[in-house]
Symmetry: C2
Subunit: 390 residues, 2 copies
C-alpha cells in the first residue's frame, strides 16, 4: 500500500486530471463488497485540509452526497468553482480547518478518481463500465476506513455529511462505533424511501434509454449518453429544491422575452435554469457512476441489517450525534431525520436534533444557513473540548 | 358542419379506431387560436352519456386531465378498461347519467380523434407533427364551446373536471359565464406553478432526447419515441401520488425476489410499478400530443389575462362554484385551490370550498373518495334543484 499518482484514472475532463491525492490499494487491502465480489486492486482519491495534530485526534471525515466529490473546500479542478461545502469547511468555518484535519474521499463507485465504473479495470486495461460490482453505502464506508488506516488515523473526531453523506455518517457509526467520536448526519435518512427510489429509477431509465449509453459501454465506443444524463439531472434537481424556492426564484417569469413564444424552446426562466443544470452536470459527471451511486442509496436501509430495528444499529454506542433537518426538504423530510434521532434515543445514545426553518428544500444543507452553522459549530466545539482539543 | 365519421384520424392503436363520436368543423367554424393561427378545418371527438332533456337544461360538460380523453364513463376502446372517472360519472353516480346529459370531448391537441399533432393535416394529407399550432387551455375551451353549439346546447348545468380539467372549468366560467350555471374545478390551479412547469419540461426533454422522436416527425418516419415518452410518464406519475401513498403501497418491498439483486433491473416493487406505468402509457398516448398538452398547462395563468388580478376573471359572474382539494396533493396543493376560492369570493361569486383528507396525492380526484362524492353530489343536486330540474 503506497501513496501513488492514480494509475487507473479515466478522468472526466482530460487525461491527467487533478483528483487531489489518491492511494492505490493492492490485494493485501482487498475490499470485500456486500454483493459478494471483491476488489483486489482499487484506488481511493481524496483531499485533505488542515493539519493532523500529533495525537492524531483532530480528524474530521466529510462524506459527500450523490453528485459531490472529494473537493469539499478547495477549488474544483474540472469546474474551477469552489468546493461543494465552502460555507461549512474552511478556516474559521464551522468545520474549522485551522483546528481540524479534514479528510474527504471520493466514494467507491464515484467518478473523480476512486474506483468506479468509469475507471480502468486493472484486470483488463479497459474501463469497467457495468462490469464494476454494485456497491452499497457500507462498501463506501469500508473503503473510507481503509483510507483512514492508510493515513494513520484510527479514530475520527467527527463524521459529517448531508444527504448520501449523512447515510455514510450513520453507517460509519453503526459499523465502526469505536472509531467515531461524533457524527453529524444532515438532511438524510436511515433508509431510502419508495418515492426516492422511484425518482432514482426515472433518472436511471433516462440514462439507459439514451442510445449513446450503449449498454454501459459508451467509454469504449467513444460516445456519451449526455441527453439521458441531463434529463436525469433535471428531474433530480427539482427534488433538491422546494416549491416555495422555485416560486420565489423563478415563478412564471419568462426568459429573455416579453411574451410566451408558442413553441417548445424554454419560455420560462425555470426551464432555462433546469437546462443549465442538466448541461453543466454532464460536463462533470459520469453516467454509469450516476447509476451505481443512486443504486447504493436505494439499497440503503440501515435497520434491515439489524433485524429491522434501527435502534439495534446503535446499541451501546458512545458516539455523540447532531442531526439536522430542514422544514422544506421533501426529499429527506424532517420525519426521516427524526426517526434516526428516536432510534438513537432508544439506544440510549447522546443525540441532539435540530430542525431548521428554511424554504430552500433539500439543497439548504449546501447553502448559507446560519442556524445550521451555529448548531454544528457549537456541537463540534463541545465534542472537541470533551476530547481535550484546543 | 355535419356529424361525420372522423375523416382525419390517425388512431393510436389501429386504423379506424373507435373515438366515440366526432364532428368535423369547416371554415364557417374556424377556430382562431391564442397563438394567432387559425384552424379552418378541424375535428372534435367526444362521447355522451345520458339523455338531453327537452329544455336542453341538463347538460354537464366533463373536462379531462392531461392524459385523459373523451372516454369518461364507458369502456376505453384502446385499453378495454373502464373510462377514467367511473366512480363519478354514471347511473346513480354523483354526476348521475340517469338525470344529466354528460358530454366529454377530447381536448384540442389531444390524440383520441380531436385535432392535434398526431392527426392528419387536411392541407397536406400528412400528420401535423410539430406544424400543428400550439394551443392553450382557452383554445381547448373555445373548441368545446363550438362542440356544444353543434350539439344545440346553449347553457350547461355544470362544467366539471380535475387537474387540467379543472383549469378548463375555470376558463369556461371566465370566458363564457353566461353559459355556465355551475362549475366544479377539482385539484387544480388558476396558474401552473414553477415546479409544475419544471416537471413538464423534464418530460418534454425526455421525449425530445429520444432519437426516435426525430424532431417530431416520427409518424412519417414510422418510428416511436417510446422510451422517452415512458420516462416522461414515469417522472410525471410520481408527482400524481404522495410519498405516504407510495410508502403504504410499496415501501421498500422487493419484486419477485427475497434479496436485492445487485443489478439495475427493478428490484423494488415501486420500480416495477413505474415501469408498468411507463410502458402502458406508450400504448395509448402520442408523444407530440404530450408535448402540446403539457405546454398548454404551462401557459395557463388565468389572472394574467385580467391584469394579474384573478378576481377580475370572475367579476359579476353568476356561476356557482364548488372547489375541491386534497390534503396530500403536492402537484395542485390546497393553497392553489384556496387561491381560486378567495378570488371568487373577492368577485362576490357563490363558492364553496372543500379540502378532503386523503393520503393518495393528486390522483385522489380519480379514485374512490366518498367525501368528494358526497360534496359534489350535494352541490350538483342543489344546482339542479335551483334550475328546476327533477
Amino acid at each position: 500500500m503506497a501513496e501513488t499518482a492514480p494509475k487507473f484514472l479515466r478522468p472526466l475532463s482530460a487525461p491527467g486530471a487533478d483528483v487531489g491525492r489518491a492511494i492505490g490499494f493492492g490485494p493485501d487491502d482487498a475490499l470485500t463488497l456486500d454483493c459478494g465480489r471483491s476488489l483486489e486492486s482499487w484506488t481511493c482519491a481524496y483531499t485533505t485540509c488542515g493539519t493532523l495534530n500529533a495525537a492524531r485526534s483532530n480528524a474530521v471525515l466529510v462524506c459527500h452526497a450523490l453528485t459531490g466529490d472529494q473537493f469539499v473546500a478547495g477549488a474544483h479542478p474540472v469546474t474551477g468553482k469552489p468546493g461543494w461545502w465552502p460555507a461549512m469547511v474552511g478556516p474559521g468555518k464551522p468545520i474549522d480547518t485551522d483546528r481540524f484535519f479534514v479528510v474527504c474521499a471520493n466514494v467507491l463507485g464515484g467518478c473523480m478518481g476512486t474506483s468506479g465504473p468509469a475507471e480502468i479495470d486493472p484486470a483488463t486495461g479497459e474501463p469497467y463500465g457495468l462490469t464494476f460490482p454494485l456497491v452499497t453505502i457500507r462498501d463506501m464506508v469500508r473503503a473510507q476506513a481503509k483510507l483512514l488506516d492508510a493515513l494513520g488515523i484510527g479514530k475520527v473526531l467527527c463524521v459529517a455529511g448531508g444527504s448520501m453523506g449523512g447515510m455514510q455518517a450513520l453507517q460509519w457509526a453503526a459499523l465502526y462505533p469505536e472509531r467515531v467520536v461524533s457524527a453529524m448526519p444532515i438532511a438524510t435518512a436511515a433508509r431510502h424511501s419508495a418515492q426516492n427510489i422511484a425518482f432514482h429509477e426515472v433518472g436511471r431509465q433516462a440514462i439507459m434509454a439514451d442510445p449513446q449509453w450503449r449498454g454501459g459501454r459508451y467509454q469504449k465506443d467513444g460516445t456519451q449518453p449526455s441527453k439521458g444524463l441531463a434529463v436525469a439531472r433535471m428531474a433530480a434537481h427539482i427534488t433538491y429544491l422546494s416549491e416555495a424556492a422555485l416560486q420565489r426564484k423563478f415563478g412564471r417569469s419568462l426568459q429573455d422575452r416579453a411574451e410566451i413564444s408558442f413553441a417548445f424552446a424554454p419560455d420560462f426562466q425555470v426551464e432555462s435554469y433546469l437546462h443549465h443544470q442538466g448541461m453543466s452536470f454532464v460536463d462533470r459527471f459520469d453516467a454509469n457512476s450516476y447509476l451505481y451511486i443512486t443504486r447504493a442509496m436505494d439499497y440503503f436501509d440501515l435497520a434491515a441489517d439489524y433485524g429491522g430495528v434501527l435502534a439495534e444499529a446503535f446499541r451501546g454506542i458512545r458516539t455523540r450525534f447532531c442531526i439536522v433537518s430542514f422544514t422544506s426538504d421533501w426529499l429527506f423530510p424532517t420525519i426521516e431525520n427524526k426517526r434516526i434521532a428516536h432510534a438513537l434515543s432508544a439506544a440510549a445514545a447522546t443525540v441532539s436534533f435540530v430542525e431548521i426553518e428554511s424554504d430552500r428544500g433539500h439543497d439548504a444543507f449546501l447553502l448559507d444557513e446560519p442556524e445550521m452553522f451555529a448548531a454544528l459549530r457549537g456541537f463540534l466545539n463541545a465534542v472537541a473540548q470533551s476530547e481535550g482539543l484546543e
